[in-house]
Every structure is written in structure tokens, then in C-alpha cells.
Amino acid sequence: MNPFTYARAASAQDAVRLGAQPGSAYLGGGTNLVDLMRDTPARPDTLVDVTGLPATIEERADGSILVGAAVKNTALAAHPAIRSRFPALSRAIVAGASAQIRNMATVGGNVLQRTRCAYYYDADGADCNKRTPGQGCAAIGGFNRNHAILGASPSCVATHPSDMCVALAAFDAIVHLEGAQGRRSVNLTDLHRLPEDQPERDTLLVPGDLITAIELPPLPFSARSTYRKVRDRASYAFALVSVAAALDLEDGKVRDVRIALGGVAHKPWRARRAEDLLRGGPASADAFRAAAEAELAAAVPLHDNGFKIGLAINTIAAVLGALATRGGKP
């Protein structure tokens, strides 16, 4: 690990002042960054510890919930309002990583974990445009069973590994930022980038930008939501495909719906095409499958991951079916 200096931020403004310096990085629970620093893809000169910043979960009068960026993943998943009103978010978080990691990891850090694949870590043995821009991508001609099928580019086929973010994408979460130019907010679905020809940039953030909170806007049918994760092991593995969805029914029709996918793209993938097809139509198994197939029509498989297309279609259809019949309960 390269040498660095360690500083603890006393406030968001303090953090931004330190974090805007060249070579600085914010440190949350460290579950991704410390690992990347040990394997050396990440070499910050200064770590600005932001785990002492506000870690409150505020239920607001308008029905929204404001989650401080330093809230631990476990605390968010266990919060009564999240469990009852946004169950897909609780279920997504507890589907991710291990209990020890969820106890360490912050909400802000979960959002800003690197989009990555195994080749990104292998500085000695593999080319990676994300690690070294312009070097090439070992995954495209390599072992790419876990890689992206949507929105990838010839420069990068890595996937964003967060489960939490898939639920946040489905719920139209808003990311509150403090930066060198003051405060602003962006939609979570706009925060992460597709790789295009700049895979070294995972998000649209600029140096100094600090996530201070995540806002869940009120959604009348968010309680009828769930998250399903398909992976190679029963627990403690990244998603091959995951689905977060919320469904609002009226007289056998889909009044409204939210769907997001994990494990398929460089960012949490909001399935807007499927949503548009479903809205106002029948809440039937055929309609669910047709919408899923339409969403995946743009998928481009690599050598080893073509199975993800059918898996994603099946999982979307199954999750919507479960929401329609059992309210998403297992």
C-alpha cells in the first residue's frame, strides 16, 4: 500500500476542503477502498475519513426519507420505516456482501464503490482501461461470465456490484452532494455512467464532490416492492442478475411500476422500456414476460454470459408475478 496521510472530517465543508485537493479520496467503511489500495489500483495521497459525518435516518413530513451518507448498510436495512415502506431496499441490502461488511460499509460508500471486474485488480497480469486508460480490456476476450450485457462499450464490460443501488434506482432516489461549488443534487440513475470511451470514470462526480445524503422520495406503492438476487452461491456472492421492482395494481391492470436490474451493466440499470410497456396494461404473466423481453432486446452477450439474457427475462417476470399475487412476499 502506498503511503498516505489520514484526516478526519469534522463537517461536510471541512471534508470538501480536504477532498478537493489533488490525490485526496473520501474514506467510508473502507470495505472497497482499503482493498483497492492494498492491491494498488487506488493510490490516494490523502484519505479524508467521512464516517463521523451525520448518520441519521430522517422520516420527513412529505413522506420522503433522508438517509445520511454515513449511515451503515446494516442500520438502513434494519430501520423500521425502510422495512415497512421500502422493503425492496431492505432486501437488497441484506442480499449484499456479508454481515461484517454491511456493519462497516456506509451508504455513501456503497454508492461510490468502484464498478469493477477481476481484471481490474490484476495490475500485473491483465490489461484494463478502467485501471490504465487506453491499455485495452482483458475481459472482452477473456473470462466474462459475470460481465455486462447492457450498455457496455468496446472499452469496458464491468458491472456495478451494488445491490443497494439497484433498489435505490427503482425508487428514484436522489443523491445530495456537497462540492467545491456548493450544494446540488442528482438522480441516482444519473449519477453512475455507462463506460463509453471513459471507463475510468464511474460517476459524473468531480474532485471534491461529497455525497451527504440519499433521499427516498415518497412513492405510494413502495410497500409493494421486493428484490430478488440470482447468484452462483446461496449467499455472499455478487449478482449474476438481480431485480428490484415495485408494482401498483388497479382492477387487474398495472397502474404504475418501477423496475431496476443489477449485474447486467456498468451502472444500476433502470428498466424504463419495460415500465413504459406495462403501465396501463394487464397485470398478467404474458405481459410481464413481454415487457422483460423488450427490455432485454438491446442486450449484447459476450462469449460466456449469454445466459444472463434469459435469466434476466425470467427473473423480471417472476418478480413481477410475485408482486402481483403475493405482494412480493417470498
Binding site: P3, Y6, G30, V34, R83, A97, A99, M104, Y236, P330
Partner: protein, 170 residues
């Protein structure tokens, strides 16, 4: 006390180098070698310790980040020469073969019991709004999935953990 962290009840000065992980601080600086280094990348759980009663991975924790916190490692569990009940249960139920993962398994299971007591849900909890979550075998296996055992002593590990829970058969 500032510039220190409390390890098994004793205040210890923080390492000067911020690169030192909590795991290396325990093992190399304090010679508390009970906590094990397995993968050193957050995948195996062998380095699990308790910080203020919560289980974390000491390999991914920078020691300086835990200033003022109270850390309990496997060496801190016995009291007055008496093994912690879970330590005894691992012996009674053959919860290990080589023993390398055992300190992490035991610290993890103690943290798990506290999470269960607070009603923290898991991936296999059917009813997210249930106040009490029964510690079924499925719940134990899911909640302990961050601790690998290459010997495959899982049946004994699960039996040991279940035996120490309230209401367990004697």
C-alpha cells in the same frame, strides 16, 4: 483516551502509520495472534473481531479509523479463566478441525446474536416486519456466510451456535 483504541479492555496507542490495518495492529504490534489473517481482502471472515459489540473485518479496517473505540478479539472473551459459553460450545460440538477460522467464527457468532437481539433482518427472513426472528438453521447459515471454513466443519459450527441461543435444547 484520545490517540488510542481499547483492545480487550486495555488502552493502546494508535499506530503511527495509517496504513496499518486493525488486523496487523492486533497480530504484529500487540502480538495478539488469535485473530487470523486468511485472505486479507474481506472474503473469508477469519479476521472478524467485535468493535463496540459489532462484528467487522479487521483486515479492511485501518486501525487509525477506530480511535477511541473498544475492540474485542478472541483473546478477550474468556472471563476469570472461564471460556465464553460459545467457545465451550465449539469444543462440545466439534465446531472446528484445523481451527484457523475458529476465532473469526466465534467473534462473528457473538456479533450475530446481538444483531438478532436487535431484530436485524437477513436475506432469508421471510417477514421483514417481524419483531422476533427465530434462529433457524437457515438463519444461522445465512448470517454466518461471511465466515468460511475450508475444513467444512459447518455442521458442528451451526450446532454450537444454535446450542448457545436462548431456548436451545440442552
Amino acid at each position: 483516551m484520545s490517540n488510542s483504541l481499547r483492545i480487550n479492555g486495555i488502552d493502546r496507542p494508535l499506530p503511527a502509520d495509517p496504513r496499518v490495518s486493525l488486523l496487523d495492529f492486533l497480530r504484529e504490534h500487540l502480538h495478539l495472534s488469535g485473530t487470523k489473517k486468511g485472505c486479507d481482502q474481506g472474503a473469508c471472515g477469519a479476521c472478524t473481531v467485535l468493535v463496540d459489540g459489532e462484528r467487522i473485518l479487521s483486515c479492511l479496517a485501518l486501525a487509525v479509523q477506530y480511535e477511541g473505540r473498544s475492540v474485542t478479539s478472541i483473546e478477550g472473551l474468556a472471563e476469570n479463566g472461564e471460556l465464553h459459553p460459545l467457545q465451550q460450545a465449539f469444543i462440545d460440538h466439534d465446531g472446528f478441525q484445523c481451527g484457523y477460522c475458529t476465532p473469526g467464527q466465534i467473534c462473528s457468532a457473538i456479533g450475530m446474536a446481538a444483531e438478532l437481539g436487535r431484530g436485524v433482518p437477513s436475506h432469508v427472513t421471510d417477514d421483514l416486519e417481524a419483531g422476533d426472528i427465530a434462529l433457524t438453521h437457515d438463519e444461522v447459515r445465512e448470517r454466518m456466510s461471511g465466515n468460511l471454513c475450508r475444513c467444512g466443519a459447518y455442521n458442528g459450527i451451526v450446532a454450537a451456535i444454535v446450542s448457545t441461543q436462548p431456548g436451545a435444547p440442552a
